[in-house]
Amino acid sequence: MKNNTLNAKSVKTFMSNNAIIILIMLLALAVGCTTQNFFTIRNFRNLLINVGPRFIIACGVSGCLITKGTDLSAGRMVGLSACLSAILLQRADYADKLFPGLPEIPVFGGLLIVLIIMAIFGAINGSVIAFLKVPPFIATLGMQTIVYGLCSVITNNQPLGGYKSSYSQVANGSIGPIPYLAIFAVVIGLFMWFLYNKTRHGKYMYAIGGNEHAAEVAGVNVAATLIRIYILAAVLYALGGFLLGAKAGGASTATGFGYELEAIAACTIGGVSTNGGVGKISGVLVGVLVFETLKICLQFLGVDPAYTFIVQGLVTIVAVALDLRKYLAKK
């Protein structure tokens, strides 16, 4: 008898802790059964391609969230890095090349330059938060606007295209049935798992999220850890933007718009708590998968893209509300 009630209770807790995931999976099941071509290899491959770069971006945001921060500049940083990649890797013979004088740069070199530039923005974010004690919400909101402005200035508000085929190939190729983008995501995922679970940096990050003052008393260099987290986040946005640009074959100031919110939503759905100190990379992956599944479902249902935004916004708020409820429930 007692066992039964315990089981019923644990099932209930599981359901309420994963309510969004369960609901969206049920939606996917319903959509799959009522429409054609949903459960196909093609659609699944499409899901993986969409998930790849977004997972990398969400990994970046997760560190900020775990330390009770946030990074609202993520989306615009993705946009800027996509545009920078475009500028550096346009075909030499492309008629509308933005900087015709720019020498030929190998794809890997272009990526490296973009990563370094974006790392600087991350370092600025981290320093402002760690040393000037500006709340992460404000610091990164300001950075979001700065980065967008810079992006507009550099690109003259012109959309960029005409990529070298070697750059486009980075995103569009595949090994067997598995797209490169998914492989990038797996490599980054493994790296992040290692970083979060097996290194001092990871432990310090969770400690700061759990209790920043206590972490400091225990000798954790809080400022250095925060700065590392925001730099790493920016580098991951840069990689995400680089891949997104390659996949789309073009970039503009609009690239990456709203990605920060998607990433925060995905993290929260996947159990990264905005209360700090809690979150796993596997959870982030689940969150991104679920969120992208939702988007594909809406596409299949023929929902107007404008409504899609409304749904995504609602899901984000509900995800955070449900997460905070877990802590309120203890009262």
Binding site: Y206, N211, N221, K330
Partner: protein, 508 residues
């Protein structure tokens, strides 16, 4: 007044209250019967369910089972505002002040007097301040109700909190550890107010750990243990020992362990240590021997914690020299202190000690991770697990597993985890700031044993405590501070309440 009719016998009764939190039965058929015009002490160890029961009475928690009979009627208290309207008021253990607003607003927040102007409901400031002034007078506070609350001291804020309860014209007043931040004189003032309220017929529930207070002011005592009701007694029939035995459920023979440490040479020296804040610690000099326990006594505001935080690099100093075995230490942040073999258990475990949502393993290892790194980067989980298991065994930490969240442990076990954290670094100097605050009577003894053992191993221990018994029972020497200065040292065996208080009140 007692037992005139059956209706009037009790002002409020709580019967068979059950409250469950995830994994814990906080209240297990608890009960409480309050007579009008009495002070009713509610006692029990930490975690016995006193605060939970009071939060149920005040409507902060909803009960799973049980009933509340208030003035002869069965009632359901829906929330704090409902409780206040019914005449039940509570002064919380942790103050919830709004320092940037006025005293008056703090008293009337949430139930401002209003007036109608041009059809709009507006706050009637004139009436609010007028009423606030009256209420302040009732609790003998001579403050301008328009002054910002933040300009008051912590103990004065506590009295304002009591004024707030009085302003609700309450019939039941719950005081949850009201004297924890008050000086002796302020405690007297509080008792006068309590006495006046009792004479007016108010039923007062008084929660405190201080036995002498309880025995002095209460009429009846209800004791709880593990969420259960143990019994209610007339306070006159009880003694401190009886209360402790009933709270713990077993006899306590010795309050402090026999110490076998032998103080050796002076190793840790502090000279002219002065804060950058002129109101804080200044010109502090003292020495600690190897294997010595130096107690640090003082009233609230004596700047003991600030001094220790300064030594540990959590606060800035502008003058002074700290040496260990003749070597000068440069400490500007906790990391420097740790590197130099100093460890510190902070006063507020929850705020600056535990990493609440993290596991025992993470909490134990966080300050010594550098020791478990393989190949320059990878943490060796096996070594960490061994460290944790060793400490769990050595300090007998009661936990289901090393992966358990530290916040789910009792205060005593949390404290042991934090001690383990520091032991992993094998420090020479231990600074302990109120090491047994918020810890059960039973677990306190275990902490004392650990401290005595550390001293026996040759560690130098500096222990701040506000419990006289603890200081006298545990220290080889006691340093007394007053208003930021060291006012004297007393040998442990010559120390008593009087000579410590004399030094602690030596204001300039």
């Amino acid at each position: 007044m007692k037992g005139a009719t059956t209706v009037a016998e009790y002002r409020l009764e709580m019967r068979d209250v059950v409250k469950t939190f995830p994994g814990v039965k906080a209240l297990d058929h608890a009960q409480l019967k309050l007579r009008p015009g009495t002070v009713h002490a509610l006692m029990g160890e930490n975690g016995a369910g006193k605060s939970t029961l009071m939060k149920c009475m005040f409507g902060i928690y909803s009960m799973d089972e049980g009933e509340v009979i208030y003035e002869g009627e069965k009632v359901q208290i829906k929330g704090p505002l409902d409780a206040l309207h019914r005449g039940i008021a509570m002064v919380h253990q942790e103050l919830q002040p709004i320092p940037e607003r006025s005293i008056g607003e703090n008293i009337y927040v949430g139930r401002y007097p209003t007036k109608r102007v041009a059809g709009m409901q507006l706050v009637d400031h004139a009436k609010m301040y007028e009423d606030a002034a009256k209420v302040l007078k009732e609790v003998h506070l001579n403050f301008d109700p328009k002054a910002k609350l933040g300009t008051l001291s912590v103990s004065q804020m506590q009295l304002v909190e009591i004024a707030k309860a009085v302003s609700a014209d309450c019939k039941v007043l719950i005081l949850d550890e009201p004297t924890s931040s008050l000086t002796a004189a302020e405690v007297e003032a509080l008792f006068t107010i309590v006495e006046e309220l009792r004479k007016k017929g108010v039923s007062i529930v008084y929660i405190s750990h201080k036995m002498d207070e309880i025995l002095r002011i209460s009429d009846e005592v209800t004791i709880m243990r593990d969420g259960q009701y143990i019994g209610t007694w007339d306070a006159k029939t009880l003694t401190t020992d009886m209360i402790i035995t009933k709270m713990v459920g077993r006899e306590l023979t010795d309050l402090y362990p026999k110490r076998e440490n032998v103080p050796g040479d002076v190793v840790f020296e502090v000279e002219d240590f002065t804060s950058i804040n002129p109101k804080s610690f200044r010109d502090v000099s003292f020495q600690v021997r190897k294997g010595e326990i130096l107690g640090v006594a003082g009233l609230v505001g004596a700047q003991r914690t600030e001094l220790m935080e300064g030594l540990f690099g959590l606060r800035c100093h502008n003058k002074g020299k700290v040496t260990y075995q003749g070597k000068e230490l440069k400490i500007n942040r906790p990391k420097d202190a740790i590197k130099n073999g100093i460890a510190m258990l902070t006063e507020d475990r929850r705020a600056t000690g535990i990493l609440g949502v993290l596991s025992i393993a993470d909490n134990v290892s966080i300050a010594s991770l550098n020791q478990y790194v393989d190949m320059g980067i990878v943490l060796n989980d096996k070594k960490i697990e061994k460290l944790v298991q060793d400490n769990v065994a050595k300090l007998s930490i009661k936990t289901p597993s090393s992966k358990t969240q530290i916040q789910s442990l009792s205060g005593g076990n949390q404290q042991k985890v934090l001690i383990s954290r520091w032991l992993a670094n094998d420090p020479d100097v231990f600074i302990l700031d109120e090491p047994t605050r918020g810890i059960d009577v039973g677990a306190k003894y275990e902490i004392y044993c650990i401290i005595a053992d550390l001293a026996k191993q040759g560690k130098s221990i500096i222990m701040i405590s506000s419990e006289m018994g603890e200081l006298i029972g545990m220290s080889d020497r006691i340093m007394v501070m007053c208003d930021g200065r060291v006012t004297g040292f007393i040998d442990g065996d010559k120390a008593n309440q009087e000579n410590i208080m004399e030094l602690a009140t030596r204001f300039e």
